[in-house]
């Protein structure tokens, strides 16, 4: 009996430690991936780096691990799947899935924080007064509204130009011509295609308007500049948001990546009347 009494604290401690370990195991998130594509893998790398350890990774169509209740969804297909009612989900790289569709979901925006975006654009084009924002799908509506408010607060008028269906972009451009002195293409999967990008680029070049695009790489294809967060950073933001939610914080429906990278296409920017100095840019393409 005395021996039992001596061992009781040790057993209790072991029990507490085991319970803690079980809780830690239960809090370990799983990453649900739309596919193995490069862009989603980069977001996963960012997520695991910010989380501090590797996590279970499953495909969008696979059953969820029964022990897990916190998830990051990487890609729209993953975010759009059915989630357990008590799951905590932070989605990134899923621009077509609105957080309205799932109350438990926090969404990492593909677009930089609206105020930051407007500030960066104004730094590139100080004389800018009116900017047309092109979008198509319903899930972009909230981001456009947020951008409009940020623009209003900073003296930049945002003209919402919805292109629905997306094939009507040339007609929409024609109807809105001469209204704005810059163009911004929302990261809207319905609208962003090589075809539509070329139409906007050529229209902007003909009108000598700056054309700002939302994803790194598009400056190389002729956009005046891109103001974008990296997919890796979006994964990192998802990890931080998920950790905060697990710790009991109330996170906003939409979170933004704080680090924004500005890439300027030098010749295109000069042709659009910007520059010639782009000191605020992170990268200037010759």
């Amino acid at each position: 009996m005395a021996a039992l009494r001596r061992r009781l604290p040790v057993a209790a401690l072991a029990l507490v430690l085991a319970a803690g370990a079980a809780r830690a195991e239960k809090d370990a998130p799983a990453a649900v991936m739309s596919s193995e594509s490069e862009h989603y893998r980069r977001a996963l790398e960012g997520f695991t780096e910010a989380w501090g350890s590797t996590v279970a990774v499953i495909g969008a169509g696979a059953p969820l691990p029964s022990a897990a209740w916190a998830f990051t969804a990487i890609g729209g297909k993953a975010a759009a799947r059915r989630w357990p009612h008590d799951a905590i989900v932070v989605a990134c790289l899923s621009p077509s899935v609105s957080s309205d569709e799932n109350d438990a979901m926090t969404r990492v925006s593909l677009m930089p924080e609206p105020a930051v975006l407007v500030d960066r654009i104004r730094a590139l084009a100080p004389k800018l007064r009116v900017m047309s924002v092109f979008w198509s799908s319903e899930s972009s509506r909230d981001d456009v509204e947020a951008l409009r408010k940020a623009g209003d607060a900073r003296g930049l008028t945002i003209l919402s130009e919805r292109v629905d269906p997306p094939g009507l972009l040339p007609e929409r451009l024609r109807a809105s011509q001469n209204r704005a002195d810059a163009l911004w293409l929302m990261p809207d999967p319905a609208l962003v295609s090589a075809e539509n990008f070329a139409i906007l680029r050529e229209y902007a070049a003909a009108k000598k308007l700056p054309f700002f695009a939302p994803t790194e790489g598009l400056a190389e294809r002729g956009a005046t500049a891109t103001i974008a967060a990296t997919f890796r950073d979006m994964g990192g933001a998802a990890a931080r948001s998920l950790r905060a939610r697990l710790a009991g914080s109330i996170e906003p429906e939409t979170v933004y990546v704080s680090r924004v990278i500005v890439t300027v296409n030098g010749p295109a920017a000069v042709a659009a009347g910007l520059g010639p100095n782009f000191e605020m840019a992170d990268k200037v393409l010759p």
């Binding site: 729209g76 319903e138 109807a175 319905a190 295609s193 070329a198 994803t215 790194e216 790489g217 990268k283």
Partner: protein, 634 residues
């Protein structure tokens, strides 16, 4: 700090542009689950869209030319019995009055309640105003109501822009002189667009080769479109316009021209709803008057009118998986003619209609669509129309569809109530118990986009059956011969359509299409006017087009079409003409020395000096034209 960021970018190589597009392509698969508007690829029927860019690049001179080289459409140059400059039909059944095809201008029906069909030439639509033309091949009466049986052609005109802009153009050639002007101005709250065009066309050579066929044409058209946007979600529009046309009547002296006047007014209010839907209300009035109807030769005055009111609610449910449209409409249309409705000159038809259409994305790869319309009218009684379709999308950008549709076609007022002495020997008498035609259609189709949407492909096979088809018959032989209308006919049609379109880069594109059509008409040439629909439709048609910039401001385009032999026939004149198989070539060269100036040279029907396409034997000559366009504020 900047250096650190730069290092970070270099360490994590920037996403290449192609990767960026790849990401959005992959995400776009999800987008289709939440969109509200119908993508042409996911439509239950075959849909073809002609954009304003194509219209400008190919230099189309009139509405018929825009439709001429499209898959599944038949366009005949010449003079139909009513003096139209062209006959347009879809999926066969080419004849003077294609009453089974619905044509809309900005959603307003321009179908004639008097004789059925559409007056293409006097329609108050101007080429410089057209934003795009949407062609739905096959029945769509569940959405658009009766007469949308063989197809629906929706001509959509430009809304005024937000800044001052305009253009003037003039063109002239060996057969035609024309001018056009358009001006628009506006701001964030809306705008106004006004346009005018004038056209003068010389008469063609007479069918017997002696002199002129007296089918000259003078035409003036005016259009106004006002747009008010009180807030981001609301649009109020006023559209109005008219045309004044004087034309010769073939077979009569030049002083016996016919005059046509057409006017319309339309108000449209649309509002986007918070619940991912929209509400739209439209009211319109259209009037048409002709003095000396060319069909009847001697002086016949006809006035027609049409009043429309329609309410449409579109909604999206279940996270976008279910898209719905609910609508209700009222129409009052009528015709007044002392001569053709002897004793009862005023005839009218009131129509009430309700319809609903839904599209449900049942699974990732399967979408079901269904619609039903119920229409009650004085002419046709209670008429249902419906449509059901399954769209299977096994891979991104590949959609297969199977559909079944049923559409009624109301008999025109003339066929129902006419009492007209065409000549001392022939009297036309309507049949008050004439029933609506019933068209059923089965269709299988495939649409695909590849190479980053640069390559667009479509294929469709269809089988259609028309029950109770209207035809003429001799009610009483002797003098005068009494001709009336009856339903005791049945026709069927089957065919295939293939089309390919490839865009190399902005402004450089090619297209090609092939159409196969066969018609079976039970009564055939026993129809009193010998309308033989079986032989009246070319079995094989092939079209191709290319447009490209040539450098230094030059651009060129060419269109070529092949049509099998067919028998041109007139359902009202009783004439038939064997048309041999033929090729047609149109070409255009333009020069844009500055962005606001364009000069062009164009040739139509370049392969032969004359072409005969229509039953009246009109020989349409080879045409050359040149012109200039100056744009402002572009």
């Amino acid at each position: 700090m900047k250096a650190i960021l730069l290092l970070a970018i270099l360490a994590s190589p920037a996403l290449a542009a192609d990767d960026a597009f790849e990401f959005f392509r992959e995400e776009a698969k999800v987008y289709t689950a939440s969109r509200r508007s119908e993508d042409a690829r996911r439509a239950p029927m075959a849909v073809d869209v002609i954009t304003s860019e194509e219209i400008r690049a190919y230099g189309y001179a009139n509405l018929a030319d825009i439709l001429r080289y499209r898959a599944g459409l038949d366009v005949l140059d010449g003079r139909s019995a009513d003096g139209n400059r062209a006959i347009v039909s879809a999926r066969g059944f080419s004849r003077d009055f294609v009453s089974e095809m619905l044509v809309l201008v900005d959603g307003r029906s321009v179908y004639s309640p008097f004789l059925g069909g559409v007056y293409w030439q006097s329609m108050p639509v101007q080429i410089q105003d057209i934003e795009r033309v949407e062609i739905v091949r096959g029945p769509n009466a569940a959405l658009y109501g009766s007469n949308a049986a063989l197809g629906v052609i929706n001509i959509i005109t430009r809304k005024p822009g937000a800044a001052a802009a305009g253009e003037v153009s003039a063109r002239g050639g060996n057969r035609r002189a024309a001018s056009a002007a358009a001006a628009e101005a506006g701001g964030r709250l809306g705008g106004l667009r006004v346009s005018h065009s004038f056209e003068q066309v010389l008469g063609n050579p007479a069918p017997n080769g002696v002199g002129d066929a007296n089918d000259f044409l003078h035409s003036n058209k005016l259009s106004v479109r006002g747009l008010l946007k009180p807030d981001a979600a609301t649009e109020l529009e006023f559209l109005g316009g008219g045309s004044r046309q004087t034309q010769g009547i073939p077979g009569f002296s030049p002083d016996q021209g016919a005059k046509r006047e057409e006017d319309f007014q339309m108000i449209r209010a649309a509002r986007g709803l918070e619940s991912a839907g929209s509400l739209e209300a439209v009211v319109s009035r259209s009037v048409f008057a002709v003095s000396a109807e060319p069909l009847f030769g001697r002086t016949v005055d006809v006035r027609t009118y049409q009043y429309d009111a329609e309410l449409l609610h579109r909604a999206s449910w279940a996270g976008g998986r279910l898209s719905s449209a609910f609508g209700a409409g009222w129409r009052l249309m009528g015709a007044y003619s002392d001569q053709t409705f002897a004793g009862h000159p005023a005839q009218q038809n009131e129509v009430l209609r309700g319809f609903t259409h839904h599209s449900l994305k049942l699974a990732e790869q399967l979408t079901l669509a269904a619609g039903v319309s119920l229409e009650r009218s004085q002419v046709g009684g209670l008429q249902p129309a419906w449509q059901g379709a399954a769209i299977y999308s096994p891979r991104e950008n590949h959609d297969f569809r199977l559909s079944y549709s049923r559409a009624p076609t109301m008999p025109p007022l003339f066929n129902k109530y006419a009492d007209y002495r065409l000549s001392p020997a022939i009297r036309l008498v309507g049949n008050p118990s004439l029933a609506p035609q019933q068209l059923s259609s089965w269709e299988a189709g495939w649409t695909s986009r590849a190479l980053d949407n640069a390559l667009k492909s479509q294929a469709a096979v269809f089988y259609m059956q028309i029950k109770d088809r209207n035809f003429n018959f001799v009610r009483t032989a002797g003098a005068p011969l009494i001709v009336s209308y009856d339903n005791r006919n049945r026709a069927s049609a089957w065919g295939a359509e293939l089309s390919e379109e490839y865009g190399f880069s902005a402004g450089r594109a090619i297209f090609a299409n092939y159409t196969y059509e066969q018609i079976r008409d039970d009564k055939g040439p026993t129809d009193v006017f010998r309308t033989d629909l079986r032989a009246g439709t070319p079995v094989h048609k092939v079209n191709a087009g290319v447009r490209s910039p040539l450098g230094r401001g030059f651009a060129a385009s060419a269109l070529i079409g092949y049509k099998d032999a067919y028998d041109a026939n007139s359902s009202t004149r009783g004439t038939r003409l064997a048309i041999p198989r033929s090729f047609r070539l149109d070409a255009r060269l333009s020069w844009t020395p500055r962005p606001d100036w364009e000069l062009f040279l164009a040739g139509m029907d370049l392969l032969q000096p004359y072409r005969v396409e229509a039953a009246d034997g009109t020989a349409v000559p080879r045409r050359f034209e040149g012109g200039v366009t100056k744009r402002f504020g572009l």
